[in-house]
């Protein structure tokens, strides 16, 4: 039997909660597999199992605050009974000091010799650690460390943010106003935590990322018509689906690969959330609609999926549904750009020297100037315009489209 526990990651007491269980009681676990994701005050960490087995009961529920050191589940070996259910800790028991709540660490003493590695992220060989940074944070950490290793490019050096929560969340927000109340319900607390997470993330982005924006008006007559046509085949398809695909196709050349993941900004009751739709360019339309709907549902339910810890190439944010013509946004931390689009509406255009009416949409690229120059942004917008002008590219119902890279910018 192996105990999965919340690691002590700092020198001071910390509030930690489980943000998602990736495995359910009774699920088979492979060695090294991620079982849960926890949220500390400093980072989101994956809890992995060192050994293979079957997962016992969840001893801690999602969003329940626990002390570092607390056992959250056990991975059972062959023929081991699950006695976990008996010691599901009461909420009051798990908020005490860590020394009181953690059990005697038998698993880490005689049983596993010289194995537990306290170093999160960089450390010994993979698999030696009970916990690690989420993939997105690992990539960020690697990039930051790399940037530091090059003193000849001091401009690229990303300063370490202050320890802890550097930016107090704006107290005016209603979700946060409840933070001071001891009466907050679990869902209120989840909303407060979500708002605080947004607050920390956008503050960090805004502090560190030199933002600039490039906008282009796109002709979307063909796109809008295509959505209408496709709805006769698949009633759930939306303009956002085709926009996701258009953005994904437009990134293929820049990324040098076709398995492009995209974030999708979704408004939820708790605040905006960015689930990740994987491999957008390679999905056919039915798969894409299904994946987009699943992502939106995850966001609305506040659930987290393994996919959502990935680092997408960009994120799409569409405020067209509420009548916005054009807007800019904050680049999500860990990404280098954000695509913001307004509504598709009939607008005056000049065609062959004459005034005409066409359906257009204002698309804005919000960019990190450390990674992008204006020219690159303009070229990418031109590519999006070109893809959108070819709706046939946007609705594959079969094998993926090839040859996109030959298209003119």
């Amino acid at each position: 039997m192996q105990e999965l526990f919340i690691p002590v990651t700092g020198m001071a007491p910390d509030d930690v909660s489980v943000s998602a269980w990736f495995k359910q009681p009774g699920d088979a676990i492979a060695a090294g597999e991620v079982v849960a994701v926890i949220e500390t005050s400093k980072a989101q960490l994956e809890i992995t199992s060192e050994s293979a087995g079957v997962l016992g009961a969840h001893l801690v529920q999602v969003d329940q605050e626990v002390s570092p050191g607390t056992v959250i589940a056990r991975v059972l070996g062959k023929d081991e009974a699950d006695e976990s259910a008996e010691d599901v800790p009461s909420p009051s028991a798990v908020t005490g000091p860590p020394v009181e709540t953690s059990e005697r660490a038998q698993g880490g003493i005689g049983g596993i010799p010289v194995l537990v590695d306290g170093a999160v992220g960089p450390g010994s060989a993979a698999g030696d650690r009970p916990h690690q940074l989420s993939p997105r944070q690992r990539r960020l950490a690697a990039e930051q460390a790399q940037a530091r290793a090059e003193p000849e490019h001091p401009a690229l050096d990303v300063p370490e943010p202050p320890v802890g929560n550097p930016v107090p969340p704006p107290p005016a927000h209603p979700a946060l106003a409840a933070a001071g109340s001891t009466e907050a319900s679990p869902s209120d607390r989840a909303a407060i935590r979500h708002r605080q997470a947004i607050s920390a993330a956008v503050s960090r982005s805004w502090q560190e990322i030199p933002h600039f924006t490039v906008t282009r008006e796109l002709r979307v007559d063909g796109l809008v018509a295509a959505v209408a046509d496709l709805r006769s085949v698949l009633s759930t398809v939306t303009l956002t689906d085709l926009l996701l695909r258009a953005v994904a196709l437009s990134f293929i050349e820049r990324e040098g690969r076709s398995d492009v993941d995209l974030g999708l900004a979704v408004a939820t009751e708790r605040g905006v959330s960015i689930p990740v739709v994987r491999n957008v360019a390679q999905l056919d339309l039915v798969q894409l609609v299904r994946a987009r709907r699943a992502a939106v549902e995850r966001a609305k339910d506040g659930r987290l999926h393994e996919d959502d810890t990935r680092s997408p190439v960009t994120t799409l944010s569409n405020l067209g549904a509420v009548g916005v013509d054009q807007f800019t946004g904050v680049v999500p931390y860990g990404q280098t750009c954000l695509v913001t689009v307004g509504r598709a509406a009939p607008r005056p255009v000049v065609e062959n020297g004459r005034l005409a009416v066409a359906t257009t949409m204002q698309a804005t690229l919000n960019l990190d100037h450390r990674s992008w120059d204006g020219l690159h942004a303009g070229m990418l917008l031109a590519r999006i315009a070109g893809v959108i002008a070819r709706p046939a590219l946007l609705a594959p119902l079969g094998p993926p489209v090839t040859g996109v890279t030959e298209m003119e910018a």
């Binding site: 526990f5 690691p7 002590v8 990651t9 700092g10 020198m11 500390t40 400093k42 980072a43 960490l45 002390s67 570092p68 050191g69 607390t70 860590p98 020394v99 709540t101 953690s102 005697r104 660490a105 880490g108 003493i109 005689g110 596993i112 010799p113 010289v114 194995l115 537990v116 590695d117 306290g118 170093a119 999160v120 992220g121 960089p122 450390g123 010994s124 060989a125 009970p130 940074l133 944070q137 960020l140 950490a141 690697a142 930051q144 460390a145 790399q146 530091r148 290793a149 003193p151 050096d157 370490e160």
Partner: protein, 341 residues
């Protein structure tokens, strides 16, 4: 050069095979102790956490083994390896980490305040660069009392950027004290890459400006560490004053147990671990030169495991300090019963 005697082979001048066995045993003990303690810290067993020294074993053992038992060492915030190298009992050290009454300091000091004056460990402490000042005092005492003891003051690359360190270096130089100024440069001051905040070519080069011999030493090679410290100790005992040694070393873990690391790459850690590991290098040296057999290595590892397992059991089962003694040792005037005069 087939030989079973490291002394004859010139492996380490002045050290017998039995001593070389003990050096390696000390390093392995530190490795197993620290990895185990680190795991316990992750589980919340060690109040306040700890700073693991895994990767820096050769520095501590090389220093301690080049000194006499009555020589003085003053450590840093990351000092379990110094304490164990100075032969503090592992069980008492772990009990101290736990805060138990049976700890080296009665559970009052914890991970950062290990001490045993009889064994020559004049404390470890969390004030950056302060251990050097304590060692300076020890060296001054030895000088005044003509005891021919030597003191070693340890600090890190972060400490090398504090003013007090250079005040101590200056005093040691002008008073020609029997002090070994020992910088453990493990490249990172908490989360800061020290080269990004350290002017000049090297820390040792700064020390040379104070008019004392100063050199960089490969801190992952215990033979080099021992050679440099022995030479510095000989100088000090001969009345020739202080020596500055900058040990180039590396910590495999974060600044503290469980630290979420964002400031270095996994590749860098792997490179140090695979190409310069002090335990593996010394094991290979001793087996290749015939001083140790593979069976010896197994016994060393087994012994270390047994000692550390016993230390864990001791620390777990030891009692907490009696609450009525909480006010003891707080000041020179406090009474045994906790009341204050």
């Amino acid at each position: 050069m087939p030989t079973t005697n490291g002394l004859d082979a010139g492996l380490v001048p002045g050290a017998t095979d039995a001593e070389l066995y003990d050096w390696l045993a000390d390093m392995v003990l530190i490795r197993v102790f620290e990895e185990t303690a680190d795991g316990l810290a992750l589980r919340g067993r060690i109040p306040g956490g700890m700073h693991p020294a895994i990767g820096q074993e050769a520095v501590a053992v090389g220093i301690a083994r080049a000194l006499r038992a009555d020589d003085v060492v003053a450590g840093t915030h990351r000092s379990h390896h110094h304490a164990l190298a100075k032969q503090l009992p592992p069980a008492a050290v772990l009990a101290e980490l736990y805060g138990k009454a049976t700890g080296t300091n009665g559970g009052r000091g914890g991970s950062m305040h290990l001490a045993d004056f009889d064994l020559g460990l004049w404390g470890t402490n969390g004030i950056v660069g302060a251990g050097l000042g304590i060692a300076l005092g020890a060296a001054l005492g030895a000088s005044v009392r003509c005891t021919d003891q030597v003191a070693v003051g340890l600090f890190g690359d972060g400490g090398a950027n504090t003013g007090r360190v250079w005040e101590f270096v200056n005093l040691a130089a002008i008073w020609r004290l029997p002090l070994i100024v020992a910088c453990e440069n493990n490249l990172y001051a908490v989360e800061t890459a020290s080269k990004s905040v350290t002017g000049g070519n090297s820390i040792a080069e700064r020390a040379a400006a104070f008019g004392m011999p100063a050199q960089q030493v490969d801190g992952q090679d215990i033979v080099e560490v021992h050679r440099a410290v022995r030479a510095a100790a000989d100088r000090a005992r001969a009345g020739d004053g202080p020596t500055f040694l900058e040990f180039l070393t590396y910590r495999y873990k974060g600044h503290n147990s469980g630290e979420v690391i964002r400031y270095r790459t996994e590749d860098e850690v792997t490179q140090w671990r695979t190409s310069r590991d002090p335990v593996e290098r010394f094991s290979a040296l001793l087996t290749n030169s015939g001083v140790l057999t593979p069976e010896d290595l197994t016994r060393i590892a087994d012994d270390a495991r047994a000692v550390v397992d016993a230390a864990v059991a001791f620390a777990e089962e030891s009692p907490w300090p009696d609450p009525s003694t909480a006010a003891e040792n707080v000041s020179a005037w406090s009474n045994r019963d906790g009341s204050v005069r």
